[in-house]
């Protein structure tokens, strides 16, 4: 159940934060475009989107915190190790989260109260912080692919510059941003299907960013093949007939199917203008982003750091238990804990769905 809880919270978190990155970009730019062109409908649409975002961004954050606390409870040694070495990447993300949250508050409550230029500047702050938040977290993901930058002398520490030069990070970060845009554009294309002009525009944007994401995805796979072969073999080594310790390639195929579906659905929508096609593209984008993230996270199972071959054997032996997902904290393996978790999670997620429905109904 531990992996299922981690996957659930992480999957929902990823869905909401991908939407957050996209909306934080679209909202201020759309409002600005409306102001410049005198198009009130753009401004009104931007406001509606902001209202939705202001009501729901908190849960994305809370699910991220939930994921961290679950990790802390299930794998406390891993969090202890990460805390001791990863100050800079975590600090980058956390400080930007604070900035992002306050810029949301000022942007939402400053609507019509701040001057247009000041309001736009706050919007740019909201956008930039959202784009930069994943920088630190993705650096951690890169580290989990292969611990580049980990140095043992004079004491265990992380060489931040080297860590930021990790090839998997350098590709994964822009891929994540473009995937966020693809998801948001297709969802907006479906959500705004009554405004055909805008909806078509978002579908076109979505297609472009989808193509870029796919290209970056191929590059990411190649970096994994080179520096994290264990993970590569688990995720998609079947293509190259590689031996997989924990074969999860079915998730890769699942993801690819939905990438293809969103591509076809978006093309169909541009040709036929039928809103069903836009909805299919939006839903497929959500499924492919979540499945892609889960594929990335789980393909290194049971190791929390996928490739430790560069570390001395005595260090690997010392970290063996800490970095093994199959060896959780013994106090967390009780069925009663899972029952408590489900008893809280299920009604709370239902209430959240109700909140989303209430806000999107306006």
């Amino acid at each position: 159940m531990i992996i299922e809880f981690l996957a659930l919270t992480f999957g929902l978190h990823i869905l909401l934060v991908n939407l957050a990155i996209g909306l934080s970009t679209v909202i201020p730019l759309m409002k600005r475009a409306g102001e410049k062109s005198g198009n009130d409908e753009l401004i009104l649409t931007s406001r509606k989107l902001m209202k939705f975002y202001a009501a729901t961004y908190g849960l994305g954050g809370v699910l991220g915190t939930a994921f961290t606390v679950f990790l802390l409870s299930f794998y406390p040694g891993f969090i202890g190790l990460a805390g001791n070495i990863a100050f800079v990447p975590f600090a980058i993300s956390i400080l930007l989260i604070c900035l992002h949250f306050i810029s949301i508050v000022v942007y939402w409550y400053g609507w019509d109260r701040l001057s247009k230029n000041t309001h736009f500047l706050v919007g740019l702050c909201m956008m930039t912080s959202a784009i930069l938040i994943p920088l630190g977290f993705r650096a951690i993901f890169g580290f989990l692919n292969a611990p580049i930058g980990l140095e043992l002398q004079p004491k265990l520490h992380l060489n931040t510059i080297q860590a930021l030069m990790n090839p998997t990070f350098l590709v994964l970060y822009p891929k994540s941003i473009f995937a966020s845009y693809t998801l948001t554009f297709f969802i907006l294309s479906a959500f705004l299907s009554k405004n055909k002009e805008l909806s078509i525009k978002f579908a076109k944007y979505g297609l472009v960013t989808l193509l870029i994401t796919v290209l970056l995805g191929v590059a990411y796979a190649e970096t994994l093949r080179v520096i994290s072969p264990y993970k590569f073999a688990n995720a998609l080594g079947f293509i190259f007939s590689m031996h997989a310790e924990y074969n999860i390639s079915w998730l890769f195929i699942f993801k690819i199917i939905f990438v293809v579906i969103q591509f076809i659905a978006a093309i169909l929508y541009l040709r036929s203008r039928k809103s069903l096609a836009a909805k299919v593209a939006g839903v497929s984008a959500m499924i492919s982003v979540v499945s892609g993230e889960l594929l990335n996270a789980l393909s290194q199972y049971p190791m929390l750091v996928a490739n430790v071959s560069g570390l001395p054997s005595n260090v690997v032996k010392q970290l063996e238990n800490i970095l093994n997902m199959a060896k959780p904290n013994p106090l967390t393996t009780m069925n009663s804990l899972y029952a408590i978790t489900l008893a809280f999670l299920i009604p709370l997620l239902i209430c959240f769905a109700l909140l989303m429905y209430m806000v999107s109904k306006d």
Partner: protein, 501 residues
């Protein structure tokens, strides 16, 4: 002893500022939903629209600050992970449950606080009140979980106090029989360990904290048993078998067994200071909220003379009066008794330098007969004496707050006169300061420990602390964010004075 002289001062200061910014904001989430829901219930009963307006204005206040408070909570959480990773690891291993459950509380807050705001006019009235109540329960639930962890750090479940000459304080541990058989029990007893009893699979012992803290430090630093303090108390046959076993493995075996016996889900709630601490922390949130509401509506009434603002002011004064009486005479008193009984060193440091008659009064009020003075505490257990000044500044300001509320209430309810001055805006700031000082006494007074009797500050600290300039920049950043938030509230809520929900 000087507060600065304890280890990791710069990182302690950074943690203090980060957590305090979070605490400044989250107190409104503990108090304002209560005030908003009560005002809404009064509106439902009386159908007086002024109460609805009061409720909406208060709700808008906590909606505005909630998100930033939550973000600062995340920052505080990661601050603990990054600056005190060894504390976080130990907490995650042995007392994870309240942190785990707090996530559900946090989710309750996020869902129901926004539903309360967006549900106005969309949900049936009684359902709306229920949603507000659930938001309030979420906030108090969250506070209870976090405070319980802090209580374990102040007075862990199983801590035993007694004469320093007999090696107290000691921690109750359930040592598995397999480990007992490897230990030279006589040597441990000579070092101050007491055998308290037995269970089916373990021996219950009272282990001196001076030994526990070294075992924990050895375990955290990755020492094998052959280099740990335990080496000297292993039997010779165990030495040949266990030399390369990690101290952490032994610590884990003892602590996990102890937690299982005490209660995996309940261990932090059994801390002897848990109940008064929760009552006092939630009370603090209510006091700060009440004074802020009083100042806001008072200012609004003073500027605009509107009837709903005058009623809101009355509501704020009444709430302030009741809450500060509760905080001072009920929860504050209970907290003081708990500190005197379970945090003896802290209490002695609070009284350090006080005239003997004050010391006597404080101990009499706390009901403690056999007390110690600061100079009787062994050097390695002494907390910083700065808490003496912090405590008495807090008490003085709290008394001033109480008196000013009493005067305002006298004029308002007895003389039926509306009294207000723009200088009253300082009252919520003083309430915040009192709350900060109380928290500072609690946290600074725990030094030299991070978890009393178990882990000291040095052991909890990261092996890679950030440079000083980074500490300084992050502190400035947090304070800057707080200033921006205060300005946003002032500009969009306080100055506007009217609700546009």
């Amino acid at each position: 002893m000087n507060w600065v002289s304890y280890p990791a001062f710069a990182d302690r200061l950074l943690s203090m500022i980060g957590i305090e910014v979070h605490w400044i904001i989250l107190q409104y989430i503990l108090g304002l939903p209560l005030m908003a829901v009560i005002a809404e219930i009064v509106w439902l009963k009386t159908k007086d629209e002024k109460w609805l307006k009061i409720s909406k204005t208060i709700a808008k206040g906590f909606i505005m600050v909630f998100a930033v408070g939550a973000a600062m909570g995340t920052a505080a959480e990661f601050g603990l992970v990054l600056l005190w990773p060894n504390l976080t690891e130990i907490a995650g291993k042995y007392i994870y449950f309240p942190l785990y459950a707090e996530i559900f509380a946090f989710m309750m807050e996020v869902v129901f606080i926004y539903m309360y705001y967006y549900g106005w006019g969309r949900l049936p009235e009684k359902v709306h009140v229920l949603v507000g109540t659930l938001a309030l329960i979420g906030a108090w639930f969250s506070a209870t979980m976090i405070v319980s962890v802090n209580c374990y750090m102040q007075a862990p479940t199983g801590i035993l106090l007694g004469s320093y000459a007999k090696s107290f304080p000691k921690l109750t541990l359930y040592v598995p029989n397999s480990i007992v058989s490897a230990l030279n029990v006589t040597a441990l007893q000579l070092a101050g360990m007491d055998v308290l009893g037995k269970t089916g699979n373990s021996v219950i012992v009272a282990m001196p904290s001076k030994i526990v803290k070294v075992i924990v430090a050895d375990a955290i630093s990755g020492k094998p048993l052959s280099k740990s303090i335990l080496w000297s108390v292993l039997t010779s046959s165990a030495k040949t078998k266990l030399a390369n076993v990690s101290t952490m493995a032994i610590l884990d075996a003892i602590m996990l067994n102890t937690v299982k016996h005490i209660g995996v889900y309940t261990i932090t709630f059994k801390s002897p200071v848990f109940v008064p601490s929760v009552l006092h922390a939630v009370g603090s949130g209510i006091v700060v909220s009440a004074f802020t509401v009083m100042a806001f509506f008072g200012y609004s009434a003073y500027k605009r003379k509107s009837e709903h603002a005058k009623l809101g002011y009355k509501y704020g004064v009444l709430f302030s009066l009741v809450s500060i009486i509760y905080q001072g005479f009920v929860s504050g008193h209970e907290m003081g008794v708990a500190v005197a009984e379970w945090n003896r060193e802290k209490f002695a440091a609070i009284l350090y330098g006080s005239p003997p008659f004050v010391e006597k009064i404080e101990y009499t009020l706390a009901g403690v007969k056999n007390y110690i003075s600061y100079n009787q505490i062994p050097l390695w257990l002494r907390p910083p004496t700065i808490i003496h000044w912090l405590y008495y500044t807090k008490i003085t300001l709290a008394v001033l707050l109480g008196l000013s509320t009493l005067i305002l209430a006298y004029f308002l309810f007895i003389k039926k006169r509306y009294v207000y001055s723009k200088y009253f805006l300082i009252l919520p700031l003083i309430a915040q300061l009192v709350s900060f000082l109380g928290w500072a006494v609690r946290e600074i007074g725990r030094k030299p420990w991070t978890i009393y009797g178990i882990m000291d500050v040095k052991t909890a600290h990261t092996i890679n602390p950030p440079p000083l300039w980074v500490d300084f920049l992050v502190e400035a950043y947090f304070i800057g964010l707080l200033i921006v938030l205060c300005y946003a509230v002032y500009r969009f809520l306080w100055k506007a004075g009217e609700v546009k929900a």
